[in-house]
Symmetry: C2
Amino acid sequence: MKDVAARAGVGLKTVSRVVNGEAGVSSDTERRVREAITALGFRRNDSARVLRKGTTASIGLVVEDLADPFYSPLSRAVEEVARAHGALLINGSSAEDPERERELALALCARRVDGLVIVPASDDHRYLAPEIAAGVATVFLDRPPGRIEADMVLSDSFEGARSGVAHLIAHGHRRIGFIGDRPGIHTAKERLRGYRAAMAEAGLPVSESWVALGPTGSDRVRTDAARMLDGSGGAAPVTAVFSGNNRVTVTLVRVLAEPEWRGRPVALVGFDDFELADLLSPPVTVIAQDPADLGRSAAELLFRRLDGAEEPPRTLSRPTKLVARGSGEIPPPD
Amino acid sequence: MKDVAARAGVGLKTVSRVVNGEAGVSSDTERRVREAITALGFRRNDSARVLRKGTTASIGLVVEDLADPFYSPLSRAVEEVARAHGALLINGSSAEDPERERELALALCARRVDGLVIVPASDDHRYLAPEIAAGVATVFLDRPPGRIEADMVLSDSFEGARSGVAHLIAHGHRRIGFIGDRPGIHTAKERLRGYRAAMAEAGLPVSESWVALGPTGSDRVRTDAARMLDGSGGAAPVTAVFSGNNRVTVTLVRVLAEPEWRGRPVALVGFDDFELADLLSPPVTVIAQDPADLGRSAAELLFRRLDGAEEPPRTLSRPTKLVARGSGEIPPPD
DNA sequence: GTGAAAGCGCTAACAA
DNA sequence: TTGTTAGCGCTTTCAC
């Protein structure tokens, strides 16, 4: 910038004004400055600007896995809102590792992002308290923060799961399995709670061998599914399964498509919608969340905070929607 | 940092040494400094560090759409490589808009990212020449740069498409349609070239009404597909379709599942693999690329440049793989 | 082993 | 309309 000023024969501040489109520069000087900028290939160094202004026009996003079809539209939605506010998005995947979430979040804070959207992997966010106190707006998404108060945007996991299981019950099922994500994860617990509530409302007993929480890798899901389906867990075989998220659902679709179960169609309702669910045979009934809407809501709340909204922490709950397509309407064999 | 120094009763530089793990601090002073850091909730301001050191330990990634199932694993792979090198990832979507690509890329440069991975939407990247000259390592991914020389990592689109169309020909098809992305996009052109090459090799004529390039939105694809399939374009109806990318394939799967075509199964081979392709009926035969591998290769090349590799610009071509699943092996009705 | 001073490139505040 | 000065928070240099 100094070089530009020298070349244009003006003061530093004049160049700054031109670069930032501030008023108070005669069109002639402006032209000279612009010429010098082009000639020198000058581009403002935003690091210096950040240092001086104390604001970075960037926000951070921490999700579980950027490549997951649930998180990728969510990230894109956050990006669009950021863009509308002139901010860039720095994002990273925690890989469901609390330590990695922490590292990422703190690295983002060290870069002085203006705000942070976090899908937590950890259940203790006290490490963020100093940052939040120092002014980093923070919104938790999909899962609540642990041991601190903060804004959050959640899907109604409990009600979604409850209605999905009630749907299976309404179609005549009495023995229903639940396969969900790891038990430490808030949404997994809430969805399981919804399952239990629906069963209890209908006066149906739940065998503990029908309930399986754990990693969403396909091996674990296959094992648990097989146990429920063939009755080797000790209780009678289930006639329907409720799946806790899109990763589990995809594995279950594969399991249920295998020859051994083909003769005895098993009903399936999955939490989360996914692409092509309607073209499978049978098409898959789901409890749909809108990941883009979740991302957008969280980002908008974040920018409202950055614009100075000073209310106490808020919780936004987003509804889910049952999409009946076929797999959830298969009756039990009687 | 000044406050920490004051509180610990040491000099500024000593705090800096502790924070950065440099040698030359007695363990006693180190302890005092660490206490002050915790007490004050101090976190190094990386903007200042960047300003001083001239390097940001962050890289930028510009893709078409972060939410697209082709780009999201690619982004994740770039992120993992960045993480392994201690760098953060700033990324954005160009939405296939050259102006937006330019804005994003220049904004990233203004933040002084150390390097840039770009999936180009534009066909003229001369705007990046000053940045590259100024030391921003740049790798183009999936499509080559326009009007400048730079590193690039590409899939072998030509050979992939050629082999896919040859596969259809080997299964007896003589009238084959091609539906691809917009004609300005390099991969679309290459894949079309592959299609023409395979047809020519087999001595088959190509009616121009069998070829359709354009936006990947479902309306356009539906219209073009219907024209080829019912012969309303003037030429005889096609018995097979080759699809130029995963968005087009998904729409075609929907079109071909509709009642009007059910009676006359149409063969389909798609460029790009996608989740659940194997569970559709019929399962979809694809030319698979490995998006994660593309991302990883590009990022690794980028970091090799950042580590000082000084060779002239390189082009890496990644192979594709035909995955036969059923839809591409449907014979023509004779 | 430790610290003081200079300066990275920019913008805010104030002069002219 | 334009320029000058100070300083954002850190690291580098060099002296102690």
